[in-house]
């Protein structure tokens, strides 16, 4: 399940007992998801610290950050990393509340649910902090859970920040100039386009059905329809892929996908790089020296 699309099926605020059709809900959710990606493009082209960086440097940093965070063991340092992502968000004209909300709803909440039992005396015995009978929260348990949650939201937060501040086309450009084979980049590029057009197809199929559906349909009916539609989309997609390939051929496609790559690293990018390397070394140093586990 995709966090950005996590509301699909859950659907936007739903009154109890309301019988919104599945079609309507799916169409909405998908439309919403597409809009979200579009909004992302707008944010990514706006002003801000991260937006101004060369996408190649951002891609490298995302890996560096995730790896560094994975080596950190101490809770204070992990919390510092979380705060750092928030500071970066603020510096990139991202609303910190919506950023934190997104991180929590996509990764944090889930990590919390997963870790909750490990914070209790069931899984981790130890000094009881909050006595709740068998569900008492223990000190070592809390530490274990917090550590994992902090690491997860730090990683997810930085990833999300890079995604929010980088346009997909720039990600592709960066991949290509970082030496990822043309064929792979071309496939990735087209996948995103195909996803969007498949989404459009699905959305429109739902709309077209909606416009001729007199009732919202029973669950069984909807189930049948959904499975049937997936088969339909599969078959039609095969034809579409053929047509698209023809269209590529018609415009001279010969296996290579050159693009107008114009990535020029500036002093700012190198400064970012230097700061990033220093930060990683510092973080790991402090983690191991100041808070040995």
């Amino acid at each position: 399940m995709i966090p950005a699309l996590a509301h699909i099926g859950e659907a936007p605020p739903r009154r109890r007992g309301s019988v919104r059709s599945l079609a309507r809900r799916t169409a909405d959710a998908i439309g919403h998801a597409v809009a979200e990606v579009l909004e992302n493009d707008e944010l990514a082209s706006g002003p801000g610290l991260m937006q101004a960086l060369d996408p190649r440097f951002k891609l490298v940093s995302i890996v560096a950050f995730a790896v560094t965070a994975s080596f950190v063991h101490s809770l204070p340092v992990l919390i510092a990393l979380v705060l750092a992502t928030m500071a970066l968000a603020a510096a990139s004209s991202v609303s910190v509340t919506s950023f934190a909300g997104k991180v929590w709803s996509s990764a944090g909440l889930f990590a919390l649910l997963v870790c909750a039992p490990s914070a209790t005396a069931w899984i981790t015995p130890g000094a009881v902090l909050v006595p709740l009978g068998p569900a008492s929260i223990t000190a070592p348990g809390l530490l274990i859970a917090s550590r994992l949650i902090a690491r997860v939201i730090a990683g997810a937060g930085f990833g999300l920040l890079v995604i929010w501040t980088t346009r997909w086309t720039d990600v592709l450009r960066a991949l290509s100039s970082l030496g990822v084979p043309d064929l792979v980049v071309a496939t990735l590029a087209m996948t995103q386009k195909q996803i969007m057009s498949l989404l459009r197809t699905v959305e429109n199929m739902h709309l077209a059905r909606e416009s001729r559906m007199l009732s919202t349909g029973s669950a069984t009916e909807n189930r049948g329809w959904v499975v049937d539609r997936m088969a339909f989309v599969a078959r039609r997609s095969m034809k579409t892929a053929d047509d698209v390939y023809d269209a590529m051929l018609a415009r001279g496609y010969s296996g290579a996908m050159p693009s107008l790559i114009d990535l020029r690293a500036t002093a700012r990018d190198w400064a970012w790089m230097a700061a990033g390397v220093t930060a990683c070394v510092l973080v790991l140093g402090i983690d191991r020296m100041v808070f040995p586990t």
Binding site: L38, D41, E210, R212, L214, S215
Partner: protein, 268 residues
């Protein structure tokens, strides 16, 4: 008699601030035939989708037959049934409208939804298929048809429901001349039968012929003209200002028939 559709200050944006319609005030009376014209991207398709309850107002309101047309209202099974069987919609892109495995299923989908008995469904499908000359396509999968064949199946799939209100988005697109004439004949018939039609089109002369009212959308997504087609089309400066027509139009082009008899064979 209550109006078929009433829009007050209706606007629609596609997320990210892409505005598609801006403050539309419009009343469509039962039995009216209204043509919506405008440059590409002016918001015609969005307007029709809103009338069909597929897109909703970002601001403003829209009502049909005296009831608000909102997402919640359509959740009421009775209203939904009444609305969906009263209003039919032909999409601009036939490809996206066709979601069944065969053209036959496509034509039968609506009538089956209406709960008609199977013989009646078969009769309707056969009738409509014959009038659109698509009988021999009924067994084919929609995505293997030619562009115009798809369009015909899309139109047929709405006609089998016999809706009282028809929303058509560029219905003559991709149709061959004969089918275009057939469609205009059908529109004439509907006018006599008192059905309501709202049609988005780029064929100004056909719109002028088949509709008694024409609405012009500007590139800023607002209504800038609304009246009988002859009057609207006479405002040449207005049409030029919304980029609907071209200064060369007299020499040739799609709107050349606005003044169809002003020149003699200069293009032959």
């Amino acid at each position: 008699m209550t109006a078929e559709f009433v829009l007050t200050g209706a606007s629609h944006s596609y997320g990210a601030g892409i505005c598609a319609l801006d403050g539309i005030d419009l009343t469509v009376e039962p039995g009216e035939h209204v043509a919506v014209v405008g440059a590409n991207g002016s918001g015609k398709s969005t307007l029709l989708k809103m009338l069909d309850g597929l897109a909703f107002c970002t601001t403003g309101t829209i009502a049909t037959a005296g009831r608000p047309l909102t997402e919640e209202a359509l959740e009421d099974p009775a209203f939904r049934r009444e609305f969906r069987s009263r209003v039919g919609f032909v999409f601009q892109d036939a490809d996206v409208q066709l979601f069944c495995n065969t053209a036959f299923d496509e034509l039968a989908f609506g009538p089956l939804q209406l709960g008609l008995d199977h013989d009646e469904v078969r009769t309707r499908v056969a009738e409509v298929a014959a009038s659109l000359r698509i009988e021999r396509l009924l067994d084919r999968a929609p995505y293997t048809l030619s562009g115009g064949e798809k369009k015909r199946v899309a139109i047929a799939s709405v006609l089998t429901m016999r809706p009282r209100v028809l929303l058509m988005d560029e219905p003559t697109n991709a149709l061959d001349p004969r089918s275009q004439v057939w469609l205009l004949d059908v529109l004439d018939e509907w006018k006599r039968a008192g059905r309501t039609v709202v049609i988005a089109t780029h064929d100004l002369s056909a719109a002028a012929e088949s509709c008694e009212r024409m609405i012009v959308l500007s590139e800023e997504h607002r209504i800038v003209a609304d009246g009988p087609p002859e009057e609207v089309l006479a405002q040449r400066d207005l049409l030029l200002s919304v980029n609907l027509v071209h200064e060369h139009a007299h020499r040739h082009g799609a709107d050349r028939h606005v003044h169809p008899h002003a020149h003699e064979h200069e293009h032959a």
